[in-house]
């Protein structure tokens, strides 16, 4: 079984934010929720890099571990999904997430965050809704994965900086790129998310 991962090749990211827009559009994400975002490091300095970040669908996902109602779980493809029916909006997943992925529809005073929302790897929801149904789309967004497609953010990335797919394959692609061009700032977040980097 393939283990799905994201990889952002920061040496290719041009900070166009198209992945962010594609995600919002594909999943019809409400205002204020950013399942994917682009963070620029050392902005305006030598060595500036931009990294597109969303849920990394971690191995031993810390959000799933701390969730007091265990509504977050990994699928057999390694995609981390959650059930909005069970979520109580406690905000603990955000404290545990190394990547700031969990989002909430409200600001959250007095615990009124609402149900957590995050990148689903365009694989629909972790609730009881039928795969590919309108109910599932309303709650969780697109289920491209169920149609055999990869997340739209990576699929339409203009520089192919953002890669999605089987972890071994995208790691191999990245490795070849680094060897060819002679440098690489590494697979951002991989050590934290998957307990392994990419040796080149």
């Amino acid at each position: 079984m393939a283990r799905m991962k994201f990889l952002c090749d920061a040496d290719r990211c041009i900070e166009c934010n198209a992945c962010v827009t594609a995600c919002k559009n594909e999943n019809e994400v409400p205002w204020g929720i950013n399942r994917r975002r682009v963070v620029t490091i050392n902005d305006g300095k030598p060595g500036e890099r931009s990294v597109s970040m969303a849920c990394m669908h971690c191995t031993d996902a810390p959000c799933a571990a701390v969730c007091p109602v265990t509504c977050i779980y990994p699928t057999e493809d390694g995609i981390v999904l959650h059930s909005k029916d069970l979520c109580i909006g406690c905000g603990y997943c955000f404290y545990a997430c190394p990547f700031g992925a969990p989002q909430y529809p409200q600001v959250g005073n007095f615990g009124s965050r609402g149900k957590m929302d995050k990148c689903t790897y365009c694989a629909g929801g972790g609730g009881t809704e039928a795969s590919g149904s309108a109910e599932e789309f309303d709650k969780y967004g697109s289920n491209r994965f169920g149609e055999g497609k990869l997340p739209l953010c990576a699929e339409m990335c203009s520089t192919k900086s953002l890669l999605a797919g089987d972890g071994d394959i995208i790691a191999q692609i990245y490795k070849e790129r680094v060897l060819k061009r002679g440098y690489g700032s590494g697979a951002w977040g991989w050590m934290t998310a998957y307990h392994e980097g990419i040796e080149v």
Binding site: D11, N17, N34, R37, V38, V39, T40, I41, N42, D43, K45, P46, G47, E48, R49, S50, V51, M53, P62, A65, V66, P68, V69, T70, C71, D85, L86, C87, I88, G89, C90, G91, Y92, F94, Y95, A96, C97, P98, F99, G100, G108, N109, F110, G111, G182, Y183, G184, S185, G186, W188, G189, M191, T192
Partner: protein, 335 residues
């Protein structure tokens, strides 16, 4: 949170300077022609994580917490919450219950040695009892709903099932968040009205030397509150302030706090709360099962004269003196 920010800044500056000194050419790699090659001037994650505990950058969306790209501390916090807190909390709370059970088996219920006199004296006024019970009921509600976040999925979830457990937990979350206000109100009242009688005195040492009333035939003298009660007062004050401050930080997430502050607030809140529960378990034990005649002080407000003589002799003498001056017969029922 101004100070930690400053300290963190200092650490970051020191780390940056030390790394800058060690790798002076890191930021500017030169190409084959000797010119700076900005494309090859790679900053990688591991270097950044050595400089600071998390990788932060600039972002276009108006959400300050989204500027944190990677914070490995999330996994550390997870370890605290899922391992240290769960095991530590279970050991402290179950341990306290076991110790209290042993105390009951070994020492037993501390009886009124002279038996009940049948005469009563007012120990706590109605408003004092109201303040105590406001805090007490709030505490029990907060304790149970709070423990549910850490232990619910192990103890309650298998019993009631995931859907019911989610409904219960969501309700518990809101109850916890809003009961905080009545707890703080009660805490403030208790702190103010019992402050003067809880100041430490010389007699507290004597009370301790005499075994705190736990040793038969040894009278431990005390004023209105003995040293044990005073410790409960001061520890509750400290723990109450700590859980309240950390709790309100959690209630208003990311207002002047960042992700590390939120994690720290949760750690403080949980650790202090567990210790607070243990303290209050002991307090409940000695006020009910552990001592005959103690509960009615907070129940009806009136205690037996012989109980007062044995546990709060100095206070009783003072009260009786007051009544004498008011021309009432001494040792009469208070009402």
């Amino acid at each position: 949170m101004a100070l930690p920010v400053r300290i963190r800044l200092l650490i970051a500056v020191v780390a940056f300077l030390s790394i800058a000194a060690a790798v002076p050419v890191h930021a500017q790699k030169l190409g084959p022609d000797g010119a700076p090659n900005p494309t090859a001037s790679v900053v990688d994650e591991q270097t950044l994580l050595k400089q600071a505990p998390r990788v932060e950058g600039r972002i276009d969306i108006p959400d300050n917490k989204a500027t944190v790209l990677i914070q490995p501390a999330g996994r550390t916090w997870e370890y605290f919450h899922e391992v240290l807190l769960r095991w530590g909390g279970a050991i402290v709370i179950v341990g306290t219950i076991v110790l209290l059970g042993l105390a009951y088996l070994i020492i037993g219920r501390i009886r009124i040695a002279a038996g009940r006199s049948g005469q009563k004296i007012l120990r706590f006024k109605a408003f004092e009892r109201f303040s105590h019970w406001l805090t007490a009921v709030s505490f029990v509600v907060l304790g149970l709903t709070g423990l549910n976040i850490t232990f619910g999925k192990i103890l309650l979830l298998p019993v009631v099932g995931p859907d019911a457990f989610s409904d219960i937990s969501q309700a518990a979350k809101y109850v916890h968040n809003f009961t905080s206000f009545s707890f703080v109100a009660g805490l403030v009242l208790i702190i103010v009205i019992f402050f003067r009688d809880n100041l430490f005195e010389k007699v507290d040492l004597k009370w301790l030397k005499q075994g705190g009333g736990f040793i038969k035939n040894k009278h431990a003298p005390a004023g209105r509150f003995n040293l044990g009660e005073k410790l409960v007062y001061w520890l509750s004050l400290a723990a109450g302030v700590a859980v309240s401050v950390s709790g309100f930080l959690l209630l208003f997430p990311f207002y002047g706090t960042d992700i590390a502050d939120m994690q720290l607030a949760q750690v403080v809140h949980a650790v202090v709360a567990v210790l607070f529960v243990a303290l209050i378990l002991a307090h409940i034990y000695i006020g009910t099962l552990g001592m005959e005649g103690a509960f009615e002080a907070m129940g009806t407000g009136e205690v037996d004269l012989n109980w007062a003589k044995e546990h709060h002799d100095l206070w009783l003498a003072q009260e009786l003196g007051k009544e004498d001056r008011q021309g009432q017969p001494s040792a009469a029922p208070a009402e």
